[in-house]
Assembly symmetry: C2
Homo-oligomer: 344 residues x 2
């Protein structure tokens, strides 16, 4: 691509490559006379010179590239936002990102680490979707940054969503609207899904603060898709009137979508008869439901930014405790006061 070399520019300007280098890189350009500088710049411009970063990298031992190892880029819309955050920071600081997708395969992960090391990337981000606790792969550079996951035994900077606080925010939204019988439609496997337990902690904490005794019947588990949510909420609506929830906090927006269906099938109007809060702020779901869904947003863009800032040394971080990124509540129209008929 870049056909013209620095020596061509040097020849055209009648100077040495050393001079061209200094002028163009800005370093030590105070030692070069203004006339020469101008001459060099003109020559470079005229020749359409663009520096060869490969040669520069070999010499300087810095490539201005950072590797991003991700277990998926296609299966969730969140991956893209994370990538965008990381990318934006990299770009603003003159770095390029090399993206490697591993499909969650250990062998591919190993190869990715090797390939990135070979490319002499200046930093690496290690991303695994869904706020997981993961074993750091062998060979991962000591200065890697974990994204949306944290290493089993610490030792690396990491950033994950603050799911406990998010669960609290969702529940608080419902409590503030006047609800006292608030169900939590949870994910099935609390062990695998760190977020599940954390959001539940937030839920219970807010109930406690509000002086509400949690009703075990109002904590149900289901598959994390729309049909799971629908089935779970149908079960909830089958409870006798005095135990039936007036509000439901769903583990995610897909389940909330199912909750809508369940409510509609009973002829219930949201939020008049039933209030619903989701989690994820899943684009193309949350805002498109009718009525639009009040939910808690996952801060993937911000996490991507944070991780890249740490990786580039623009920000300090703790290597033992992961940063908990805030999950803000997004208020839309699925929360209202409990129906008056529901004697509290």
């Amino acid at each position: 691509m870049a056909r013209v070399r620095m020596s061509d520019v040097a020849a055209a300007a009648g100077v040495s490559t050393a001079t061209v280098s200094m002028v163009l890189s800005g370093a030590g350009s105070d030692r070069i006379s203004p006339q020469t500088q101008a001459r060099v710049r003109e020559a470079a411009e005229a020749a359409g010179y663009a520096p060869n970063s490969v040669a520069r990298s070999l010499r300087t031992q810095r490539t201005r590239t950072v590797g991003l190892i991700s277990d998926t880029i296609a299966t969730t819309p969140f991956a893209g936002r994370m990538l965008a955050g990381a990318n934006d920071v990299a770009r603003d600081h003159g770095h390029l990102v090399i993206l490697v997708n591993t499909d969650d395969d250990a062998e591919q992960e190993r190869k990715a680490i090797l390939a990135l090391a070979g490319q002499q990337v200046d930093a690496v981000l290690y991303a695994r979707m869904w706020h997981r606790v993961v074993d750091a792969p062998a060979g991962l550079p000591a200065d890697a940054v974990f994204l949306d996951c944290r290493p089993t035994h610490g030792g690396w900077p990491a950033v994950v969503p603050d799911d406990r606080r998010g669960g609290a925010a969702a529940t608080r939204e419902l409590v503030a609207a006047g609800h006292r019988r608030i169900a939590y439609v949870d994910a099935p496997n609390p062990e695998d899904v760190v977020a599940s337990g954390l959001r539940r902690q937030g839920y219970l904490q807010v109930l406690a603060e509000a002086g509400i005794t949690p009703d075990p019947a109002l904590h149900v588990r289901a598959a994390t898709d729309a049909s799971g949510g629908r089935a779970a909420v149908e079960g909830l609506l089958d409870l006798p009137a005095e135990r039936r929830p007036t509000a439901v906090f769903c583990f995610n927006d897909r389940m909330a979508m199912g909750a809508y269906t369940a409510a509609h099938r009973r002829g219930l109007v949201i939020p008049d008869d039933l209030s619903i809060v989701g989690y994820d702020d899943q684009q193309l779901i949350a805002s498109e439901l009718d009525p639009p869904l009040t939910t808690v947003a996952l801060p993937h863009y911000e996490m991507g930014r944070w991780a890249m800032e740490v990786a580039l040394g623009l920000r300090e971080s703790d290597r033992d405790d992961p940063l908990l990124m805030n999950c803000p509540i997004i208020r839309r129209d699925s929360v209202g006061p409990p129906p008056v008929t529901a004697g509290n």
Copy 2:
């Protein structure tokens, strides 16, 4: 990262770096004695040697990297699939991809092209979402490949979805089920949205083939989101019984989602009272609707693969006519025969 150099391995094995290079790269390894080869490999292994690709690239003038310039990576789930397709092919052929997001900004695009040229990438993919006709940016390498867009005046290989055939497939699905009054809920701006006109062509073609005279009242335009779809379908359902459609083909799945809402509000059951076909196979919508939506899939993964294959010279391509990638119909449960009450 890679601390140990080839000279270290050479010293350990008691050979020259030239020998190490040949053995490890495989090239001309038939000229090296098996014993020496074994010795070299052991030494490399023992030392944990990993070649420095920057040095190799400088020497060979090939970096085994390809740049992917995209106007977005975050705002649609399709971008991720495209990226995944391109990435998979690159990986399988020993290439790494450098991703640059431009946010559809010309200045960033210019910088991206420069940066990638500086990195000496072996190829570049130029992606713009939503099947657009775009002006090729200045400085774009002649061997770039256009992805999900095509250059105004040709001259580059390009791949876009075959929207005309997709529109035909959707309509055919409905015709095959027995429908004759089939509405097309279209996007608002036919000029901007190439796909809109093409899908309509497919729609009209299939109607013609089936001997159905298109009713202009059944071609409506609306905003491409759920509320647009809902409003449009409500209008359609307001038509007098004998002109009312028994099936609706929506420009996209979000609009189809709105069509569901419109139907439900009238107490209509899908597909018994109204059949619906969408477009996009938007994850988390199409399959989660109740009943699951029959739709036409956008082949982003395949387009990503194709573009990368062309870019790496693994596949021939035409520089004048873009490849039209098939959009397969995904059959789910939103299509049935027309209601018997609808006298055809």
